[in-house]
Amino acid sequence: MKSSVIVSPELLDELGLLRILDACQCRSPQGNILKNSVTFYTNNSRNSLQEELITIDKLLKLVRSNHPQVTEGQIQLSRLRELRGTLGRLEKGSLLDDTEFFELKSAFAIFNRLRRMKNLLDAAGVNFEDTKTAATLLDPAGTANPTFHIYSEYSPELAQIRARKKELEKEIRQATGPQRKTFLTQRALVTAQEDQEEESIRRQLGMKLAEWLPQIKHNVSVCGILDFRLAKAVLASRWNGCLPTLVENHNPAVLQNAFHPLIAAMLEKQGLSFTPISIELNKGTTVLSGANMGGKSVALKTVFLALLMTQLGYFPFCESLQTPLFDFFAFESSYEGDLHRGLSSFGLEAVQIRNHYRKSQSQKGLILMDEPCRGTNPSDATAIVQALCNVYGKSNSTFLIATHYHVRKSSGIRFYQVRGISPDALTELATYRYSSVDPIETEANIPATASNLTVIMKHEDLTRVRRIQNLMDYRIEEIDGVNQSSSGAIKIAELLGVDEELLREMIAARQEE
């Protein structure tokens, strides 16, 4: 997984992938082991991925129809204990104790109940081995009682010893003084015989159960698979995941109305809604440009998340999605710089540019870059970005780049842009005059402490920024490439009340360019 998905820990955190996977809740230790082992499916495991996705789809139908076997199955799975230790000891021929026999007896009961849930098992594409005969080993009297002890039914000798012990215990209850002591001593002798007999029964029982190890192990593993697939289906149901279509490698990835559940939830808290992303990614380069504050980074994260989740065997959060299978995923964002480590941000970017390019020479990658060369001088940056677009345009990998730098049309390059703020919407927003009074000056009596040396952004300004954001049309659309619009930064500066003189200079400078 590590070499197949190249993304910094900080960006991984921003992507929210781990928080989303946390929301996929397995009930059993076996399900959690599978989940935590993380499988990255590639072309070599295309059939397994296909099977995984189809079973999740079938389970999703049961989840959505509130099929009773879903809840019942989850209850049974949640009762299953981690059995590796007990099975390991059974395999080694160690003497099991009562707790371990109890664990196995409980597991047999769970297997038996799950085995009867035909709809659930058919949907999950799994089958249980019949272990009823093994279960009877732990219930010699056939009481169907879930509890366990070494039953007297295991041997006539044990039954006799216990009968003697019981007689003595009766005597002990009535006796006092030295007589009681005598009975207690006799009881201790009988107890020693009981221990010996119990040990021999435990040994035989262990040997008989060991014969069932293949079936037990199979069923334990089936529980894990069932649990994990069911958890994925519940996750898909919660956030409207869809069954992705896996296409051959020469086909594009096509995402319809993809969304990011965590960002969507955050926006919802602010009374806003997430604008779904639709995009087609051919092999080669796709350039995403558009206004500042236009949600390019969110679009990139959403696309990356949907495609990566698919290859991790989960349903992506989309209306529909088709995708070829990539050999590796890479995501770079200059926003998450490594400045705190005291290293040059471009230096680190260059290392990644080199690595991804080399990897893409032999493997088909999905490489996303969010505003590379952000801190580099614009003419160099434009040249680097253009070069990246050109080389990946001819490669077998899929390269999606969000950039403000101008990219010239060339073969293998497609262009998308965020719609941004429409001119009509802009007229609704009267230009704003920033108050010339410095807030610090009006509060002259505040003692000079370190905390009030920093000017806190005025509430009015924050509201303004939010209002502009609300006017933003975050939808992305394919464009020709020649008419790449400006980032709209100067317009936003104007809307936020940048002084006229400064604004005039900005416009003049832009025109000169």
């Binding site: 204990r81 104790d97 002890h149 216990r162």
Partner: protein, 360 residues
Amino acid sequence: MDAVAATKGIDLLQLTGLQDLESLAIIGLSKNAGKTTCLNHIIAAWQETSQLRPLALTSVGRDGELEDILSGNPKPRIYVQTGTLIASAEGALLRSDALLEILELSNIRTALGEVIICRALSDGYVELAGPSVTDEVSTIGTLMRQHEPECLFIIDGALSRRSQAGSGVSEAVILCVSAETSANPETLAEKSSFALSLLQTPALPEEIALVFAEAMVVHPKKRVYILNGNNSDMTLAILDTPTLVGNGKAIANKINADTSYLFLQGALTDQVLQELLSESYFANLTVVVEDGTRLFIKPASLQKLRDRSVELAVMNPLDVRLVCLNPTRSNGQYIEPELLLATLRKSIDVPVVDLGPKTM
């Protein structure tokens, strides 16, 4: 009440009203206080009076071993009757000789392994090693009640800073004291009476307890909850510190002249009190703890609190039904119980008995 009469099962039950209880904690004032002996007396009394409800036993920490782990002296063992429920760690159960049926695995881990819920299918010796945290004791109680809803849940408790047997876990308490604490009757009576008075610390007014209970739901697992103002106009302040010890200064800084109640979650020790007493605002208020087992303070500290008009109160009052005296010391010395009992009874208002030895 003489020692001999008290050993009759019927008297023990009458004295403590055990038949009407759902839960009981046995707390020892010191090591070798006679908790296990007391438990064995209860088990015997339960059998002699043919009670129909089963007993359900667990301990806070470890008990019922053959030897005292600290002194190496032989300890009384717990001998249970058929039908008794036991919650004890795997390792301790291996050293038990009653035939035990496993009912459930609790998922609560201890140093001796997972706590297992069992039913005794025969009479026999068991070793108790239950959970060490109050929340877990409460979980064990719930699990046992699922199997035997009518059981009398008995916690073989310990007075320690880490664990407690009270806090809503048990309805009533038996306090065990021994000559280990002091062989001098007056000193023993003084210490026992003081310990008892802490255990019996009165409950908060119901409306204030309700405010704190709500605060604990809204802001769970905080150490310090402070109520400022009076009844008509109260405000709540919260302080989150990892422990009370070492943070007395921070707590003291949070209180002001307006503070009326200071609720501390955890053990209230002399050290914490010392830090609180250094704050001049720490006066004319009530200090609240979960229950009387959370108070680890010396008589002198209590006097200092009184001088400042600081009251003590608890969220969950403990109903101490009986004080049991063990006249034997761990070095084997036996102190004549008559004088000890007489002196104890003079200063203690709950029945005091010497149940006598009960090694099964």
